[in-house]
Symmetry: C2
Subunit: 490 residues, 2 copies
């Protein structure tokens, strides 16, 4: 960032440091998309947005419910008599019905194996706000949290920018399917201690962003043991819980600690409706802490990011409609599974594999065979080709602090079926021709040939399998100017 | 706050310090109200809430507009086709139409003497979030802001709790109608410097909360000169701008600096729709900075407290309906003026005077003659009698850091006409009888007698003047459980 000399002295260190992280390729990719967005007819050579973890597959169900429930809105003839009471409602406890609806949803998403207490539901401005709130409660500037890598590119901003915390990556390896091991945790912890860094906790995303995998029970128990042994916190970011679309099922940390002898004061959950319901614009973030002091403090902090009471009122009615929620979650899983299958199988046919995953709005694409050399520099070179030539905004693994170059996060639920097909076609072409632009070596030519067989007529085959349809085309152009240079959360 | 020993070590300093300020009488008064809220029939001896700066007088106009504009909502047959695009909208620039509407409103409220640039409108979670955001941009932990006192009781939390800033009061005196003088500013600044405190700016509320007065142009020019001379910031909290109900008119700092030779990089405005429109539940806070770097940084920070896109969409339509907004603002001023007149005249008749004011949702009541002695202790003693015996939740001046004991903030726009009458009747009774419970001295008996004449049949007179009506009674009980132990902003 550039500042006048006067401004650099006038403003805060937060304003003038670069810990917001906006300069990472993760955000640059969005800018590339924003300056040249794909449209099937108006701009068919534009950049396809595959860097945005949006869940757009079930809005038909939501819209149907909206029309059937006019009393859920304060802006209808049926609801307007509530307008005043809702417009003036600014209690930082949030609407009781809203908390109850969220608690029920969290329970259902966890397979109803554990009950969530509505009185522990604390609201915040999206998961972005919820994650920052938890950090403000748990740690002081200069303290650190361990974060298994690869991890969400926005964590630096959400967890560390204004709180002054440091993030210490815990390296997870592809050879181990990026599993979080006790050995890796111990290593990161000890390394921090040797550098005199006070580690206050571990934060994990389950399901993982960017991996799209769920944590297994054994790993979770091991995490709980680890934080207990060290007397530090465990924050579980479960905002993708309901995006789990095939087995193994999602298991909440709340279920794990039910059967464990552990200090529950160390356990905290972050939840949201941005991914599971697909409402990032509504800014619903949730802090659910088993520690009463943290819950009370987070509740006071919610004054800085309360959810609009208009939105609370709407969602209270929606989330308490159990039949609707049940149907929505089932249908959403089904559609995510279908889309994931279509995308990953389409890539497999051109010889590109991905980490096996069963959750999330993205998968973790393995482009290591296409790298000139196994470095971040080579990864970013390839990424620039993908952005600028192939015109797909996928996100390079280095922006998720992945220790192995060559992995890319690909979002698959923010587009229509036809766009999926265009994206797959572009990748196929790239594999057939574009590869030489990166690297003309014999090795890559050999690799290309190996994969030619696989990529043969892949897109037409997808049609044959009924996995894609040119119908249900959704306009990527909102009627309202939409320039998401940086989103609150992805 | 009490913590287990383990939690005190486990949690952050922010979580375990008491800088949130929830223990002040300001918040205690709300608890008294919450545990025993007045209701005309169900609980006629309950506590009347006069500690809440809500603007409830014009919801009939809003509701009429809502019914006439179903396309302003994404939850109607007319608007549901926008549901998806709005639900996924999380751009931290906010909806263009929303920014335009807010900019127009700010211009209009300032008498259209200055134009606000929609591209400088940055959104935040209420004024609470906006004020914190500005501080995060301008100052580092340990730095200080000067704040003319008396000032809003929530400033300690909003400006200092998570940012680590200190507030240095600038004493304003009743003998000078609490005007902010250059001498008082210099004195506070020098005192801070002698204590090695780095002063980064001044924050003023215009109109003032709790005084209900607007800043005059001369004072504002003097403030601009002061911050220019010191090369520090001036933040103007203008969230009560449109509550100005009689002359002199409200003048925005944006109008003042238009004609001044000054460094505009030092000038920042905080705005909100919680007071001027009466929508605190919608959590619309605005940062408007003339400093590009601050604007850019605040925009990035808005990720932590974006306004729900559902609410942005509704308000965009409402605020861009210029005929409606014009009518609303005129009618709102008229009703506030009438209510203010009814209340202050009613008090005058029982011998209680107030600071002359022309804005805000409250006035500054002078109870100095009723104090046993001129101390904060005596003020709080009187306050406890008012809360517990008279059963009115007014807020003591000490919770606004007023340097002179005996002043109380009285909110007048969060109740119906009938409740006003009950409140005045209680005060009348208190002046006639209750005074002896505080102090049986000759002096107070004399004071009481003097005022008997004035208080004679005051309430019936108010009816005669048509200032109050038992009609339009609004239920203070929302159909939704409503327990505002601590509000986000008042």
């Amino acid at each position: 960032m550039e500042f006048t000399r006067n401004n650099r002295q006038l403003l805060s260190k937060i304003a003038t440091n670069d810990r917001h992280g906006e300069n990472s390729p993760y955000f640059d990719g969005w800018k590339a998309y924003d300056s040249n967005p794909y449209h099937p007819t108006h701009n068919p050579r534009g950049v396809i947005q595959m860097g945005l973890a949006e869940n757009q597959l079930c809005f038909d169900l939501i819209e149907k419910w909206i029309l059937e429930n006019p009393d859920a809105s304060i802006c209808t003839a049926e609801g307007v008599d509530k307008f005043k009471d809702i417009a003036i409602f600014q209690d930082y406890h949030a609407l009781k019905e809203f908390r109850e609806g969220v608690a029920k949803l969290m329970g259902r998403v966890g397979g109803n194996r554990v009950t969530f207490d509505p009185n522990r539901i604390v609201t915040s401005g999206g998961a972005t706000g919820a994650n920052e709130t938890v950090m403000f409660c748990l740690a002081d500037p200069g303290d650190a949290f361990l974060v298994p890598s690869p991890y969400y590119a926005g964590f630096a901003r959400d967890l560390g920018w204004r709180t002054g915390l440091d993030l210490v990556p815990v390296d997870c390896k592809s050879s181990d399917n990026f599993r979080i091991t006790r050995a890796a945790l111990e290593e990161a912890y000890e390394k921090a201690q040797r550098s005199n860094i006070n580690v206050k906790g571990v934060i994990v995303a389950n399901p993982s962003n960017p991996l799209g995998t769920v944590l297994d029970k054994e790993t979770m128990r091991s995490l709980v043991s680890f934080v207990n042994d060290k007397n530090i916190h465990l924050v579980c970011d479960e905002i993708y819980a309901a995006t789990t679309f095939s087995s193994p099922r999602f298991v909440s940390i709340a279920e794990i600690i039910q059967d464990m002898d552990c200090n529950r004061d160390l356990i905290h959950i972050v939840y949201s409706l941005s991914k599971d319901m697909g409402f990032p614009g509504f800014r619903v973030g949730i802090v659910y802490s088993f520690n009463d002091d943290v819950m009370n403090c987070a509740r006071k902090m919610s004054s800085f990011g309360l959810v609009s009471s208009q939105t609370q009122f709407l969602l209270a009615a929606m989330l308490n409609d159990e039949e609707f929620v049940g149907n929505f979650l089932r249908e959403s899983s089904k559609r995510l599974a279908k889309r994931h299958h279509a995308f990953t199988k389409g890539l497999e046919r051109v010889g590109i594999s991905s980490l096996k995953s069963n959750a999330g709005l993205f998968f973790w694409m393995d482009m290591r065979p296409l790298l000139k050399e196994q470095t971040v520099k080579a990864e970013l070179e390839l990424w620039r080709v993908i952005i600028n030539k192939v015109k797909l905004n996928v996100s390079p693994g280095s922006s998720f602090q992945c220790s192995e170059p060559g992995w890319f996060r690909v979002c698959f639920a923010n587009m229509d079926d036809q766009t999926v097909q265009v994206a797959l076609e572009r990748i196929r072409e790239f594999v057939l021709q574009g590869k030489e632009e990166v690297d003309g070596s014999e090795k890559s030519k050999h690799w290309r040939k190996q994969n030619l067989r696989l990529s043969f007529s892949s897109s037409s085959r997808l049609y044959d399998e009924g996995l894609m349809s040119p119908a249900h085309m959704m306009s990527p152009h909102s009627p309202i100017p939409h320039s998401p240079l940086v989103r609150a959360r992805t």
